[in-house]
Symmetry: D2
Subunit: 304 residues, 4 copies
């Protein structure tokens, strides 16, 4: 499709994966979901990331999701596909599936499990970039990989052919600003923030956008906040930022564990978009927590 | 083969994977290595664990290693196979490959990447145990998974059909002793320690053995220390424990990063057993570090 | 003096402590420094915080610094005094010294050493607030205390008489925005950010100001950035924010350890304001690192 | 008194501090407690450590405790005094109080609050050792200081006049064995373990003893386990080690937070030895948790 702007800007929604059970796709849910996201005006869709439970799914299911999503999106917005894997070879395989299905870009975090030093991860990036059929975004995700791409590693990676940006989910804005300083001479290198609570300030201070899970629920809100931030419309920013804070303060704070993933999927289910089934080892909320989420969904006016 | 004792006792060597490059097996190395380990008297061989770089290898290569190792070991000692995976379905697939090749047991750490709470991981174990064709050992590996199996979770897991023991690589002996206290009524549940530096005290205080990487280099030393500990031969314990400390203090402390894996493989290469090639994202030592390892190998009298 | 606004707004400089050696005040340095800060237009001065090495100093020296600073500042701006202490009783004693010297407020982090749970720290705050002779700011400083004031604890603390605000040095803006959401009904409760790299976004999104170490070197820069952020002067913000990033990217990144404190004090010494002596266990930079700082000081145009 | 053996061996009890409230000594409790400890045959008494809540107490109270303890112990066993402090000068002051009262040794962890690098902490030790009037033990306490004395730092410190040993509360036996390897040529340098759960293996593998909080409750048990370990009486070791595990598994696992300190003091109160009052910011257990502790005290046969 080749619709990736340089740099990629705006709201990239890290799409949840509608499931019927841990190894079965919720086809109807997927259709409704993609329609919902496109109607909300998101600038790109990123599947099989953390929010998409990518690494927990079988390769068979990942292939199915890639192919069906590509078909449903049908070039209306760029499609990014997560390929993070413990194994180099398997990551490349998923990338090839994505390219064949017509995806536009790839997203890659550190290979989980083995801790890697900065020179090792840079070697790895140099090696894998040569094998990948599509442009690739780095994915800084220390809460899950326990590793970071240090600013100097990112600057070096920005010189590698095929590496076109970074999604930072560290929630550390000092780090994000250091990236901006390091990459000041690479204006086409996209710097996106993971946490929706940090979207406004990211864009106000020169970042290119957000990869925000909340956009699954109310895509237009995040798109509007992005636009208000680009336009420096402070009153709008303040109002929308508060709404973003209210959503995450409520939906992601129910239950005793795995609150983000379970809360988000439960809300999508309460909104009637798709099932709240999860991949292993996760389980949906029980009745009580679901009732709380339903109440929040109503209070917050979230709807399909 | 069915040769797993209840509980499994002794030295289980977490075998390194001899490679020619990140996706090619060093066949000759594998042959020499297994011969070396069997000659040293190890009680079992565990392939595709952390030391075996399992999660970093392609499934094709993992299958090849399982099949060739099974053939070479040929039932002389039990063969355990690591199946740790981000994906439930893929873990089960590797388990089936192992069973078909004639392996005797499986080893499973937390699925990497997604943090899971204790109730989630217990659900996961209950689910996966039903799908596995062979007995399974839990693998507590917080340095890589950033998660632990809490003692009460382990006790609950010990009641699940097919879960027969635990390898603890947390290096926390207070935790290990808590496991022993929790599982006091399960004398067939095997409790093994990962760190070779802790082998003597583990066995002296009632643990069943060790899964010790150093046994790749000098299997007989660890077997002797295990036996001395079982026999409470205190003078022998002191002497052998010091030799164990000398090996790990030297071989695992060269280079600036990934010292354990790179040091161990480099030593095996200096000993003439196999190549020091590693999976992605690792690289073998350069000349200078290799010279240091060679010197240590000589000093310590390590040989094939 | 009673000059604390409600809420306190602007740039509160966490003043370094000019020393001749670990237990001797650099009197001339203190004079020059306070003059420099006041000339730069800072809104308040905070002594004996982390940047001021407070907890590392003897009580005799802390008393001397409080009394001399109060005299030199002479009511031109509010004076805040750090009282963080492992011991409740000793913290109150320093508070009384501060009140007698004419200080305007106190700053209190978690008592270091013993980890405390949220209910414990809230009890502690309720107890100590009754004993303190001056209004008190909480100081969220997880890098040093390894503990946080959770948002609900902060909201509860905001209802305690005498607790008037919080300085957040966690560098986590999601947390900061959660504090804002929790304290939305307490508009007089001051929320200030520790990291100067986060000053602009803090103020743009409704925070009250910064407690920024860099203001020791160039107070006017941080005051200007604060003002530009209040006035939403976007072009100015971008320019000044970049200068702030350049200063911290350089001055705080020299040397192998304790880079912030040693870099900052070395810069102040290169600027001719005071000695670079430090409290135990710190030592000033050696020749080479000092030369690098001198070069940066020149490049960045830092001057007394 | 000068009764410190070289190296110090056996059970050093880290004495709790009997309090009536956060700043008042429980004099009667102190008397009973010291009598209880001496009757149990402990080899030394260590006051004002972590278990003794040292850093949380006022200096006035610390002085009182030192003087009264010294008088009550009256040279029957060596008396060690904790001097860990955020401030170098104040640590030395407490050391002088201890020496004047007739104490035999000092115990010093990293100064809390400011993180220090290894060269810094070594400089600090060199400096402070010159100022101290008594022999000093290092105290490796990463759970509270978030720092460690690395093995090479310990080896260097062992060459400093006046530094005579180390108490390791890291609970990491690999680290402990590395210390033993580093200090193999310093047979007079005492290496003691903090966790009572690790006492047996420590002594079996050549360590000199334990500084174990449980010895407040049942000093004879820990002394017996130490002796059995010295004598390699394995059957006794197994039995006593299990009793040690039962005590810590129960007494330290009640309540939602600060379980060790609150559980231990509550048990001592249930045993009729002293009050369960704690220093700030701690509070004694409520009725329900106290009832659980009382039940455990009865089950375990703990008595004055």
């Amino acid at each position: 499709m080749g619709k990736l702007t340089k740099p990629l800007r705006g709201i990239v929604v890290p799409m949840i994966t509608p499931l019927n059970d841990f190894d079965t796709l919720d086809n109807q849910g997927l259709e409704k979901l993609i329609e919902h996201l496109l109607a909300g005006g998101v600038h790109a869709i990123f599947i099989l990331g953390t929010t998409g439970e990518g690494p927990a799914l079988s390769y068979r299911l990942r292939t199915e999701i890639i192919q069906k999503s590509a078909k449903l999106i049908n070039g209306q917005v760029p499609l990014l596909v997560g390929i993070t894997d413990t194994s180099f070879v398997e990551a490349v395989k998923v990338a090839n599936v994505a390219a064949e299905a017509g995806a536009d870009g790839l997203v890659l975090a550190h290979p989980p499990y083995f801790p890697a030093a900065q020179p090792e991860i840079l070697n790895y990036l140099e090696h894998i970039a040569k094998e990948l059929p599509l442009p690739m975004f780095l994915y800084n995700m220390p809460s899950h990989t326990k590793l970071v791409f240090e600013p100097k590693t990112v600057r070096a990676a920005a010189d590698i052919d095929g590496i076109v940006g970074l999604k930072d989910s560290s929630a550390k804005m000092v780090y994000f600003h250091e990236l901006q300083r390091e990459c000041a001479d690479k204006p086409d290198f996209s710097l996106l923030v993971g946490q929706e609570e940090l979207l406004a300030e990211t864009v106000l201070l020169g970042g290119h956008g957000g990869v925000n899970g909340g956009a699954n629920m109310k895509p237009k809100l995040y798109v509007d906040l992005y636009n208000a931030s680009v336009e420096r419309d402070y009153d709008k920013i303040r109002t929308l930022h508060k709404e973003v804070m209210a959503i995450s303060g409520k939906i992601y704070n129910v239950g005793a564990y795995s609150c983000y993933l379970r809360g988000l999927k439960c809300a999508m289910s309460c909104m009637g978009i798709c099932s709240d089934a999860l991949s292993e080892p996760f389980r949906p909320f029980g009745k009580e927590d679901r009732a709380t989420i339903q109440q929040y969904v109503d209070e917050l006016g979230l709807k399909a």
